[in-house]
Symmetry: C2
Subunit: 418 residues, 2 copies
DNA sequence: GATTCTTCTTCCAACCCTTCGAATAAGATC
DNA sequence: GATCTTATTCGAAGGGTTGGAAGAAGAATC
């Protein structure tokens, strides 16, 4: 049984308050925060005091006042430290350095050799990218509060062992051990599905909503599930493998070895496959780079080629049915779709997919769910990875201890000068 | 945002302690409870004191002691009151009266007319069954702590409106209003999926496990999802409609109007349909009563008829793939299967289905999940419905107030005599 | 039969968290 | 400069859990 203590409440409230500050259009007053979180005034003052003391928030001027004391504006202190987010994908490693306000300060992308990449190669590439990030941005390592790394496949978080990779023949690779040494930074490992979801919870649709499903559609596809404002990880941190649920029994062969998986139809490769099916002769559909193929498809569709429209139409149907499965099973308030497939085909694909969801889902859960395109700026995976590091920092007991410590400190030290 | 207060912690701990008492092989000592829940000794003493005062627990003798003060045994006080659980199914209403130890004291089953039943008919039948229950068991209405009612389809709990029924053409039926008046009992409404799941959480596999999926397989099929020891309801209390997720695109027509739903293959009707498909001439497969048809199928399989074996084999494959979808998506620790389909075909169906899950699920979530046949005694739906009433009673602020009230009461009243 | 042991329970004080309400602070306005 | 008006801080109270001391209850022993 999971122990629940009053400190968990405080931790969640701390997260909640800070999430609202990030979510807000700019700086927010304590009043706004109390209204937004539903917490009492005193509690908000309490939590913000703690965050101010830790340097995470700063006072940023005052609001206009029509008589009476003006409200202080609180904003995230971007300069408090840096966060690193890394997205390990099939063909490249994308690393970004964020400030604490989660603005991108520097970005590096390094290719991975094609074929079966060894763990050591990935570690080298990653470590190199991080060094470049630090050097180019002139950031001292000590200012980095943590690094989040998204690894495709399934990762055991604590041990940091990658037990399955969809692209490479990895087997029980002790990633944490390999990276810890090289990076010398607080490290947070997980997969792209959960990274995107956390990004969405802090900076996207999840700001307003507590039950959502986040679909990541690129070379691999999958879902992140957040329930009651909490990410659902599953018993072995491998929940959300929607890409490998069966949509068409005895259907198309999937990379996982099974048939009829969702991923075989709506991933970049799956869409390319549909194009090949519908236009057997077309050599634009035959290239080895699926992202390029889908980009070509988008151009063909823009040129009103009927076959391209048919491919998009079919894909929308697959996607709609698969999303409807999620809607029926999870009954979320919002379904967010994002990443390469959406970036390339969004305008054409999504309206048709939305319509297909309506045909396949039951009326009540369908009415309850809104479908949205991801509004998280930039790459949601690197941002989500950095968010893991942010969450880790906010959980740091050295920085955010129990309140009694604060009281003692306040008594011991003098009053802070204005 | 959901407010979290320290009272929620206490509420959850109260549930947890009581669940362990129900789960235990008999009476349990406070020591056992502390060990089982992970709570401190003082807290367990605190909570049990409260439950003893409310009459929910009683001291039931002492354990043997090899020197030292013997441990007091605590047991549920069956006589504290009665609970009623009602299962409204397609063709009948099944009502049962339980004591507080959740033993069945009396059981009534009344048929519903075939065809499109009106809400008033169901309400009449239900009210009649409850009256019979009370009369036959000699239970005074005032001793009934609450009644839980399982309604097929989708029910909005607070308003008690049934917005969709799979069998009847109901539309926004205000069930709570209709029943409140007739029953005059605290009333708890939900659907059979969630009822079975709650039964499993208190009295079945959920006793040991916090993340589980409970599959109800009868005329309709669906899943109940419990995460972190909490039932997942979804945004509109309609999560778990696994029966209407698409397993075979463009597949068999389902009662919901879609094609290829899981329910079209693994419900009683679906299995009968598979039999008709494989043995077009066989009139045993052609009857209108699906439960009877599946019972006949079981007999045919027992008689080693090859076609019957083939039907079971196919069904196992459908079921296995559909369960694998759940395993991949939710990554639970346990999947429980139960109800009529399992009762009739369990021995033959489940081993093959388990094997099919292994073929379809990803390795890591598959290894993490164990599949079990439901071990909840008797009808899990009536028991689950009664459990809703039990949970409601345990949430009653009149009975279980904040601790400070207890202190005051203890001060006001004298010490209890030994 | 009294004493000693051993173990269970209860009780108390300490600690964590939120929240109400009074007191204090800080500008705007007259 | 006095008076409003609104924000913020502060202290006490209320709801929880928990470790440890003190009390209670049998078993074993002398």
């Amino acid at each position: 049984m999971i122990k629940r203590t009053s400190q968990d409440i405080r931790r969640l409230n701390r997260f909640e308050v800070l999430r609202r500050v990030y979510a807000g259009p700019g700086a927010m007053s304590r009043q706004d925060l109390a209204a937004a979180t539903g917490l009492s005034f005193a509690t908000v003052a309490n939590l913000t005091a703690e965050l101010l003391e830790a340097g995470v928030l700063v006072e940023a001027g005052h609001e206009e006042s029509g008589g009476g004391r003006p409200r202080a504006r609180l904003a995230v202190n971007a300069e408090r430290g840096a966060l690193i987010g890394v997205d390990i994908a099939e063909t490249s490693v994308h690393a970004e350095l964020f400030d604490l306000a989660l603005s991108v300060r520097h970005s590096v992308e390094r290719p991975l050799p094609p074929g079966d990449v060894r763990p050591a190669d990935v570690v080298d590439t990653l470590a190199g990218a991080v060094e470049e990030l630090l050097a180019a941005s002139g950031t001292d390592r000590s200012r980095v509060l943590g690094a989040g790394v998204s690894v495709p496949g399934m990762v055991e978080r604590e041990g940091g062992v990658s037990s399955f990779s969809p692209y490479w023949s990895w087997h029980e690779v002790p990633l944490r051990a390999l990276l810890d040494e090289r990076l010398g930074l607080p490290l947070w490992l997980d997969n792209p599905l959960r990274a995107s979801t956390v990004a969405e919870m802090w900076f996207g649709a999840g700001r307003e909503v507590d039950d959502l499903v986040v679909l990541t559609l690129r070379a691999g596809v999958g879902a992140g599930i957040a329930i009651g404002g909490q990410l659902h990880r599953g018993f072995t941190n491998s929940a959300g493998e929607w890409g490998h649920t069966c949509l068409a029994l005895d259907g198309r062969l999937c990379t996982c070895g099974n048939r009829g998986c969702v991923e075989a139809y709506v991933s970049l490769r799956g869409i390319a496959g549909t194009w090949r099916e519908l236009a057997p002769g077309d050599e634009r559909a035959a290239g080895p780079d699926d992202a390029a193929t889908v980009a070509a498809l988008a151009r063909a569709a823009d040129a009103d080629e009927p076959v391209a429209a048919a491919v998009v139409e079919r894909t929308a149907r697959y996607l709609g049915a698969a999303v409807a499965n999620l809607v029926n099973l999870v009954n979320p308030q919002v379904v967010v779709v994002g990443n390469q497939v959406v970036d390339l085909l969004g305008e054409r694909l999504l309206p048709a997919a939305y319509e297909a969801v309506g045909r396949h889902a039951l009326a009540l859960p369908h009415r309850a769910a809104t479908l949205r395109r991801s509004a998280v700026p930039h790459n949601p995976v690197t941002r989500g990875a950095a968010t893991f590091a942010l969450e880790g920092f906010l959980d740091d007991r050295e920085v955010f201890g129990p309140v009694s410590r604060m009281r003692k400190a306040a008594k011991g030290g003098g009053a802070a000068g204005g």
